[in-house]
Symmetry: C2
Subunit: 451 residues, 2 copies
């Protein structure tokens, strides 16, 4: 028979079992962290009616969308998790309690040009808090706490949550009389990291901004020091513009509650150069960078917006949210060798190898182990001893348990620690205890290794 | 602005937050159970090249497939998790250790005619064990143990795992000299549950089978009694046909190891009427029915097959697997009112309501609670007390915690059990302990309620 080549499309991540085990852990940590902050899980369809999904889209995004018809229906695959959230909240407005906190970890689709490290199918992990008409600043202040716990739980300590406020920037531009150029200026500032100060300065000048104003802008975004030093420097602009004053007070609120939210000073920074490209954001904006790996860019970004679902409803639904591009982040961490070797990625904690024809004792032992929470695999193939051991090595089982005539006669099992090579003859129950004791630290090991 | 109606396509499940919480629990139980048996997680793309995905398809399935082009590429959405597994194993043959045990819980797509309870996007939860060239019977014997633990962990005790063996049926038909009609007969027998004995008999007769053979068949599939009584009745056919004898010995092996796998007698049955529609299966076949809800049909089915990936590779890859149609099962359980009311579906365990302008104590309390593993939400909106309480009621938080001037002065918090209405004044730490103690049983509650 003619064979079809079993290939996976380029731009689609398909991991080996050991890497997938790490990805599963990643997602579990995200679910647990988000849940601790009162975010509820949501799962929306991957396919939506095109008219619903594209109500807002346009430009570049629209070209990337997977769109097709089935029967008479014009369908599209979701390209983010925000539009489905807007649809969901608008459609279920009457049944939801606001503020509505949801998380969603799901695949999204963008038909980008395929290149290394770019994915067409990728996971996003989003949290959002949606208010009905209004949303208190405490929600914005809590977001850095979620980011901090997320990356701490993943095993990191050297990362920085960088926060700014669009109202502070907009208000400042208004003070300079540059209201009408605010969006343009922010797009330039947002590129600062990539293009540097000089290029930024010349782009602003090219944009028709006076030398004097350019200098004002550059010195504003260069304000340095600790969080409180920066706030104090900013306070000099207070009282000149309402938008600025509101933004300033929001930034100050966020800074004030940080310690009580358990976010250490060294993981937080006011960064006046952060603007986020999207005009969508209207208040606090967030980015997160790994201190030792600035080249990765922001690993968790988002911000405050004023109107989530204006394409679907007249209700004003302000919100704040952040997103992790999970697939890309996982890919980069793996590429850089930053994923732990310590966590258990084998399909089982213990492989049980029966050495007799009657498999009863092996089965009983497996059943006992499982009652102790040990992930356990029975090897039931009739193979030579060498093949059995090679299988144990290949799957990387931390423990192998042999049950032969001798062990059965003694009412014991022979257990081998595959890391040290150490073997012991123990009762099945003692073997289970040994495994659980031994694996305790590896089960709790960090997913990401540092420095 | 013209608004787009925020609708979700029919045939696509999108749950309310409380129901989604139950769905999340369902998936968590499946992941944990599968992991206990040494199955490793796999996550394959939802989109595949059509030529890969449809290598095997044909007939009805092909019409249901979501197929489209993007650029020059002919693409399709997966319609099950078996074809992607076959592709994966064939493509990664050299890197995998066999037997290869994987689970996958993922969405699949079939453009079926929309009707109540039928889904076009739905989750399947599959486990498979793939051998390289051969696969020991112990793997087939272990499958009922996985099924048993899955449904026990979901909270059920009244269910039956029904097992048969295609070789027993094929061998028996061969004994009657009906080899060439085996497939046809099995398709008829497979419908027995729906059409009854009389209709089954007449369909067989219509199929050109002699009265005598029809009677033989009907009396064979009517063999009754306990597992061992049935095996003993079957043994009378032994020695007449090799295929039958192999099947018989496989069935006997499975029955023998059941108690040691921890599967109670009352949850297992040899059922000679089970054939499973697909010709794909070649040995043991499994179905699972809920004793009090036969109308739901089989909730977990599968079987042994000889050749997983023949469309992609010359390697012979026999396997055994089972599948749960998760979305449909969840839908039916919910419709029948069988999902627990006891498990916590609120987005948080405790809602903290600050009663002062300074939110520091509330934030500190939330941070403390979270360090105790309590899912905690801070209510930061400036609303009237009544609106705050109505929010607490609406999200269904088990506990509400008030922090006002008085409590702050005392260094305590006021905690209210929303179920009993009881209020206490406690230190934040004691409040955390109270919450964890109180929620222990609800956190461990069964997802499915019985009887």
């Amino acid at each position: 028979m003619e064979k079809v080549k079993p290939r996976t499309l380029s731009g689609f991540m398909e991991l080996s079992p050991d890497k997938q085990a790490k990805m599963e852990r990643f997602q579990e940590i995200l679910r647990n962290t988000y849940s601790l902050y009162g975010f509820t899980a949501l799962d929306t369809p991957i396919i939506e009616a095109s008219e619903v999904l594209l109500a807002k889209a346009g430009g570049e995004t629209e070209n990337q969308i997977y769109r097709f018809t089935k029967g008479d229906t014009d369908l599209a695959l979701r390209f983010d998790l925000t539009v489905p959230l807007a649809k969901y909240v608008a459609a279920n407005y009457g049944n939801l309690a606001f503020p509505f906190r949801r998380y969603q970890i799901g695949k999204v689709y963008r038909g980008e040009r395929a290149q290394r490290g770019r994915f067409r199918e990728f996971y996003q992990a989003d949290i959002d808090i949606i208010g009905d008409g209004s949303l208190g600043i405490l929600n914005e202040a809590e977001i850095p706490a979620v980011i901090y716990r997320t990356f701490s739980s993943l095993g990191l300590s050297r990362f920085k949550i960088r926060v700014n406020n669009r109202k502070v920037l907009n208000g400042f531009f208004a003070i300079l009389g540059l209201d009408d150029k605010a969006s343009e200026i922010m797009h330039i500032i947002d590129k600062l990291d990539k293009i540097g100060f000089d290029k930024c300065r010349s782009l602003l000048t090219d944009g028709g901004i006076s030398e004097k104003d350019v200098s004002e802008i550059m010195s504003f975004i260069s304000i340095s020091g600790t969080v409180s030093e920066k706030l104090s420097a900013l306070s000099k602009y207070s009282g000149k513009n309402d938008v600025f004053d509101t933004g300033y007070s929001e930034l100050a609120s966020i800074a004030r509650y940080l310690p009580e939210f358990g976010v250490p000073k060294e993981n937080f920074e006011l960064d006046l150069t952060i603007a986020r490209g999207l005009d969508y954001y209207t208040g606090t904006v967030y980015e997160t960078t790994l201190t030792d790996h600035p080249e990765i860019g922001s690993v968790c970004s988002g911000g405050r917006y004023d109107d989530l679902a204006c394409y679907y409803t007249d209700k004003k639904l302000p919100g704040v949210g952040i997103s992790i591009g999970l697939t890309r982040l996982f890919y980069v961490l793996d590429e850089q060798g930053l994923l732990s070797d310590e966590i258990i990625t084998a399909p089982c904690d213990a492989l049980i190898i029966p050495m007799t024809e009657n498999l009863s004792e092996a089965v009983k032992t497996a059943t006992l182990f499982r009652s102790f929470g040990i992930r356990c695999q029975l090897y039931g193939e009739e193979k030579k001893f060498k093949a059995k051991m090679s299988y144990a090595d290949k799957i990387g089982a931390p423990f192998t348990v042999f049950i032969g005539e001798e062990e059965i006669a003694l009412g014991q099992v022979k257990i081998k620690d595959m890391l040290t090579g150490e073997q012991s003859l123990l009762s099945a129950q003692d073997a289970a205890t040994l495994i659980n004791e031994n694996l305790k630290s590896r089960r709790g090991a960090s997913l990401i290794k540092e420095g």
